[in-house]
């Protein structure tokens, strides 16, 4: 419009000297460095929220302890024979790593849904930042929570007799793999959190997806005793793939197939759900 030759001198000449650096990117695109800085500032926000509300760490701290104790002592003897609980520790701990990731990821959806009920999201969305950075910051902090949960799980595992048959590098690879897969799961739950109306709905929907995936997998028991159709399902279940990969990385054994399957699943899930989640976030009113 010709009538809008507005001189852009915010706050007027009388105000304090402008502190905002002059930007050269005329189309307003956010550069990579600025984007990382924004993600950092928003991740700091999410971390400070945890500091303010320490109870929100309960799931990451206590879930691994309770789960590993329950599974090792309740199912361990039944699956690996009485007195062989320590054998089962080496079987179930890598599987539980996969499960922790999934449970933490579920919390992300609930958190995002809650966050949206607050005015601060409006502020973020009227600021000159990439809208995806709000979501990525959330993921960064949740991955931190996932690492804490994994560390506690492994610590408990070692107490109960877990032994690494390979090397520390293999263990780190197993942890890295569950982080990569966990991050991809978070996009699914962010998408759910942005799409469903209430946090309860997100929780309910998540349980519906989670239960069959968790128990219809090789996490808790070997799949060889399952009926054929279920075995086929568990073989393609990404949680089985991750559990197998982590197990073989820690205990030794062929890893190529399960590692590639896990990475493939992670990539596919992220490629499909991340753009959908970001576009949902952008359009949400």
């Amino acid at each position: 419009m010709s009538t809008t030759t507005v001189t852009k001198s915010p706050a007027g000449a009388a105000g304090p000297a402008p502190v905002r650096p002059v930007r050269t990117d005329a189309d307003g695109r956010i550069g990579l460095r600025a984007n990382l800085r924004h993600i950092g500032a928003l991740a700091r926000r999410n971390a400070l929220q945890i500091k303010q509300d320490p109870e929100s760490m309960f799931d990451a701290v206590f879930m691994p302890i309770i789960f590993i104790l329950l599974f090792v002592y309740v199912f361990g003897g039944a699956i690996s024979g009485k007195g062989n609980n320590d054998v089962y520790v080496n079987y179930v701990t890598p599987g539980l790593m996969a499960m922790m990731g999934m449970n933490i990821a579920m919390g992300v959806g609930v958190g995002i849904n809650d966050d949206f009920k607050k005015g601060v999201m409006d502020r973020f969305r009227t600021m000159p930042i990439a809208r995806s950075s709000v979501l990525i910051a959330k993921i960064v902090v949740e991955l931190g929570r996932m690492m804490i949960a994994t560390a506690i799980l492994l610590g408990m595992g070692f107490l109960l007799g877990l032994s690494i048959h390979t090397s520390v590098l293999h263990l780190l690879a197993a942890i890295g793999l569950s982080v990569v897969f966990g991050a991809s799961l978070m996009w699914i739950f962010i998408l759910l959190g942005l799409s469903l109306k209430s946090a309860q709905a997100v929780q309910g929907m998540a349980m519906l997806v989670l239960m069959p995936l968790q128990f219809g997998s090789s996490i808790f028991a070997p799949t060889t005793t399952m009926p054929g159709w279920l075995e086929t399902f568990t073989d393609y279940n990404p949680l089985s793939n991750l559990a197998d990969a982590a197990r073989n990385l820690i205990n030794g054994g062929a890893v190529a197939h399960s590692v590639w399957m896990t990475l493939g699943w992670s990539l596919a899930i992220t490629l499909v759900t991340a753009p959908l989640a970001v576009s949902r976030f952008r359009k949400k009113t």
């Binding site: 009538t3 809008t4 402008p18 189309d27 928003l42 607050k118 600021m127």
Partner: protein, 333 residues
């Protein structure tokens, strides 16, 4: 289209803005201008489309039709550039309640690409300015309503916006806190910020705005300078309570005899033992008081009140606003 007799350029130009939510026409062809460095009050009842307007102008909603240019940027085609020049303080506190005042402002500084030191300095400066220094380290959830609004305003001012939207900034605040917020807004305007203010209160519009746009059911039903509109609506009403209520009829008769527009419409309200006198100008106010004094009427109490939103609507449209029951823009949010 644009009033070229005015010397300044427009910081906000809205033409034919339309936004529908299903069957609901939240905005049904809105035109308005805000001159640079001034405050435009957008006055309307709940559900008139005020919040939808602000959300369209702040890139939170994409309008269905029409154009809006803010600080030289088109809200639909240049949202990224626009976000660098606007600030928004909504009806609902748009700060993170779990974070302290300082952490909120520091975060916003970092999101606006200030260095760490600069963001810290600016946050401290804004806390000081909005009298929040003492509460700087407390989580915002423990703030009073007024402190929260002030933090909200401080958050909007970190980036030194050229245009600031205030969406019902004092709804739900007590009168003292309301005055505090008004003072802050006046101060920001004196520093050259252009403000688009939505409100349900004529009093707020009169306090802050130089020009007024009255909206109802997604349409502009009147606009102009605040004084013009006030004259149209009938200005203020003077309420006079005599020492001796028996004198009320005589007082009313004396005022009617003046034949002045407005003043002659003086009416006795027996329930309140008071006389209501419509006044259009300050001169009329003086005239009424001196006339009553000269005739020897003893006055116990005297006060003026502004027309309520209902009275404004009645005067402009000849009918009461019905928007509140029919359109609920919050539902779409």
């Amino acid at each position: 289209m644009v009033d070229m007799t005015r010397s300044q350029t427009n910081a906000v130009e809205v033409r034919g803005l339309v936004k529908h939510f299903g069957e609901t026409k939240a905005l049904d062809g809105v035109d308005l201008d805000v001159r640079e460095g001034t405050v435009l009050g957008v006055l309307g009842p709940n559900g008139a489309g005020k919040t939808t307007l602000v959300r369209c102008l702040s890139t939170l909603l994409v309008p269905d039709a029409g154009t809006a240019v803010v600080a030289g940027y088109d809200v639909v085609r240049q949202p990224r550039q626009l976000r660098r020049t606007i600030g928004l303080t909504g009806q609902y506190a748009s700060v993170d309640e779990k974070l302290s005042g300082f952490e909120n402002l520091y975060m916003i500084g970092r999101l606006l690409d200030l260095s760490r030191a600069e963001a810290r300095r600016r946050a401290d400066e804004m806390l000081e300015r909005f009298s929040l220094t003492e509460a700087a380290k407390r989580p915002a959830m423990n703030y009073s309503g007024g402190m929260r609004r002030r933090l909200d305003l401080a958050a909007s001012m970190i980036g030194q916006p050229a245009v600031l939207y205030l969406d019902e900034p004092t709804t739900g605040l007590d009168p003292r806190t309301r005055n505090e917020v008004w003072d802050e807004v006046k101060r920001m305007v004196s520093e050259g910020v252009t403000v688009l203010l939505t409100t349900q209160y004529m009093e707020e519009a009169e306090q802050l705005a130089s020009e007024l746009t009255v909206v109802d059911r997604g349409k502009v039903i009147a606009n102009g300078e605040v004084d013009e509109l006030k004259a149209k609506v009938g200005g203020r009403t003077l309420k006079v309570r005599p020492i001796d209520p028996a004198q009320l009829p005589a007082m009313a008769a004396a005022l009617r005899e003046t034949g002045l527009d407005g003043v002659a419409g003086a009416t006795v309200v027996p329930d309140e033992d008071a006389l209501y006198v419509p006044i259009l100008t300050d001169q009329q106010l003086t005239a009424v008081v001196s006339l009553l004094g000269a005739r020897g009427f003893g006055i116990a109490h005297i006060g003026t009140h502004l027309p309520s939103l209902d009275e404004v609507f009645l005067a402009i449209t000849g009918q009461k606003s019905t928007a509140a029951d029919e359109i609920t823009e919050e539902v779409a949010a």
